[in-house]
Amino acid sequence: MCLGIPGELVGDVEEHTDLAMVDVSGVRRRINMGLLADDHLKPGDWVLVHVGFALSKISESEAKAVMDMLHGLGQAYTDEIDALKESDIS
């Protein structure tokens, strides 16, 4: 559960809910961006996602590196992505 998974913002941050559509390794889900309000995120930015919240803004190259590492984790990573697929935040 402590994994941080990189995701790319593919939509704008909705003003009231702080939610934005994020592409996390091909899975598109709404993720809460409220903790990074100071970063003024926009589509194309990369973030590290943890339990439905963006924790940290990261560079695209960092995102790729983290992704490579996560793929190597096997089960722990698959479990996390499966959980994310079930998620339906609104």
């Binding site: 559960m1 402590c2 994994l3 941080g4 702080d18 809460n32 409220g34 903790l35 990074l36 309000a37 100071d38 590290l48 943890h50 339990v51 439905g52 919240f53 924790l55 940290s56 990261i58 560079s59 960092e62 590196a65 983290v66 490579d68 590492m69 190597g72 984790l73 089960q75 722990a76 479990d79 959980a83 994310l84 079930e86 998620s87 339906d88 935040i89 609104s90």
Partner: protein, 375 residues
């Protein structure tokens, strides 16, 4: 030492391994604790210890949030989950954590409505959709996860959702590290600091470790190279007689942490006077509870909770493992009575737990363990 060819950047790994070896003073031994379960996972997955000289040992700390939940809290949560109108929600990692009487999985099989969620916001959605049920979120995790719970509660308050509450088990990293520093059984030479917790709390809270205990503390990322790099930085500090906080993971961790996250935690939660940690016992000011202002969302106030206290099973040595005093395979029941399918202790449950990490990765097959035990 093993070959490093399987690393993404084998040259860099080779250079780091060589520098680490060169930095070790002859005859001196070094013991570093990686606080975070994510690091433990990487260390076993990649067999990092095999790249380190004999003189350097890595010991695992208490940074796996699932591992530190005491049995009594699980029983209390199961008690709540068994109320007829309750839907209990929790991260998947919690499902197999043994209580004194049952796990969530057992209780679910016996009819309790317990659902796995990815995010506390999913739990809130369940509450929204089931106004006639009371939905409880079993909140676990360090400062990494606490802000998510806090934001969810703020959201519930804003929307006036009155059938949602949190059974708060969020724990704090600093008191745990301090308890380890003050524990007489373990002498450490430095820390590999947690990556994701530090994105929230920043690096400043660790400064007392450098100041009062004169130990180096390097916040590190989760890739194998990050861990080697952290070891290199720790040895460098020791060689120069320094004890400082360094941020190896600056590409993700801001030195000052996340202001907004710390504020929402401060708004919704308060530090508890005491909290029991599995294997470590009671630690003062080491966990969070819901603030008075958010009592309406506090499962501990809403439900009549037994406040169960159960001693860890005799066979279980999770406490020693969580403090880094024992290696997982030194526990008497490791791999025999205690496996990921039938865990006795919590360190075998989450993939971030030291025992599960040892058990799951082929490098630590029973053969290897036997070899290692003989050596």
């Amino acid at each position: 030492m093993r070959f490093v060819d399987e690393f993404r950047d084998a040259d860099a790994a080779r250079a780091l391994a060589a520098r680490i070896a060169a930095r070790c003073e002859p005859g001196r031994r070094y013991k570093f604790m990686e606080v975070c379960g994510g690091h433990t996972h990487t260390i076993y997955k990649h067999g990092i210890e095999d790249y380190l000289p004999e003189a350097v040992t890595l010991v695992h700390g208490p940074g796996c949030p699932v591992c530190v939940i005491p049995m009594g809290r699980v029983d209390d949560a199961v008690h709540i989950a068994r109320q007829p109108d309750v839907i209990m929600t929790s991260f998947g990692d919690m499902m197999r954590v043994p209580g004194g009487a049952a796990t969530f999985l057992d209780a679910k099989a016996q009819g309790a409505d317990i659902r796995m969620v990815y995010s506390p916001l999913d739990a809130l959605k369940i509450a929204r959709e089931n106004p006639d049920r009371r939905v409880v979120f079993m909140a676990i995790g360090f400062e990494t996860t606490a802000p998510s719970t806090a934001v969810t509660v703020l959201r519930a308050a804003e929307e006036g959702i009155d059938n949602f509450s949190v059974f708060c088990n969020h724990v704090l990293i600093i008191p745990a590290v301090k308890a380890i520093l003050d524990s007489p059984d373990l002498r450490l030479d430095g820390f590999i600091g947690p990556g994701h917790v530090s994105t929230i709390i920043g690096c400043r809270p660790y400064e007392f470790i450098a100041r009062d205990y004169r130990q180096p503390f390097v916040v590190a990322g989760f890739e194998p190279l990050d861990i080697l790099h952290a070891v290199d930085l720790l040895l460098g500090q020791l060689a120069e007689g320094r004890g400082e906080v360094e941020n190896q993971y600056a590409r993700v961790v801001p030195w000052e942490g996340n202001r907004i996250a710390m504020e929402v935690i401060g708004t919704v939660m308060r530090v508890r006077p005491h909290f029991e940690w599995r294997g470590l016992g009671f630690i003062s000011h080491s966990a969070l509870e819901m603030a008075e202002e958010y009592a309406a969302f506090d499962a501990e106030r809403i439900f009549d909770i037994p406040g169960t206290r159960i001693a860890d099973p005799m066979a279980c040595q999770c406490g020693e493992v969580l403090k880094g005093v024992l290696k997982p395979w030194e526990c008497k029941v490791f791999g025999t009575a205690c496996t990921p399918e039938t865990p006795i202790g919590t360190c075998m449950v989450s993939s971030e737990g030291a025992c599960a990490a040892y058990y799951n990765f082929g490098r630590f097959s029973r053969e290897r363990v036997r070899e290692a035990t003989r050596a």
